[in-house]
Symmetry: C2
Subunit: 87 residues, 2 copies
Amino acid sequence: MYVILVYDVGEQRVSKMLKLCRQYLNWIQNSVFEGEITETKLLELVIRAKQIIVKERDSIILFKSREDRWLQKEVIGMEKNKLDTII
Amino acid sequence: MYVILVYDVGEQRVSKMLKLCRQYLNWIQNSVFEGEITETKLLELVIRAKQIIVKERDSIILFKSREDRWLQKEVIGMEKNKLDTII
């Protein structure tokens, strides 16, 4: 399954979320991740994410697609994850 | 066409981008928008966005899908756009 994940969490929880999501998906921008993931792994990620977020304040949005070819990606401006691989 | 747009722009350009994107798409989280849009309107949005961003620093990512039913959305935590309609 192909997934886009975006999160909006309190500053104190950003680094934890970043670290968690990086274990499952590819970082593509600020708080945006994408990648191929199995149902099981995604469930694991969601369970772990729920332990980090404060559900009254933070939010995570998942867009799931059975196939990544159904989604066409376009980047305008700087492609941040290129930098990421350099660091 | 169904579109997810995420942007990461310098603080000074955030309010301009927010205002612009709101004219074309639905705000769903921080710097994340989604919605149905025509090719023409999307092109218009991209052209106007390019006038706002500093392309060496900022980035906009577009995920385009021919049909929204190919994408399943799941929100974990707080659904921010619900608040948005109240304000």
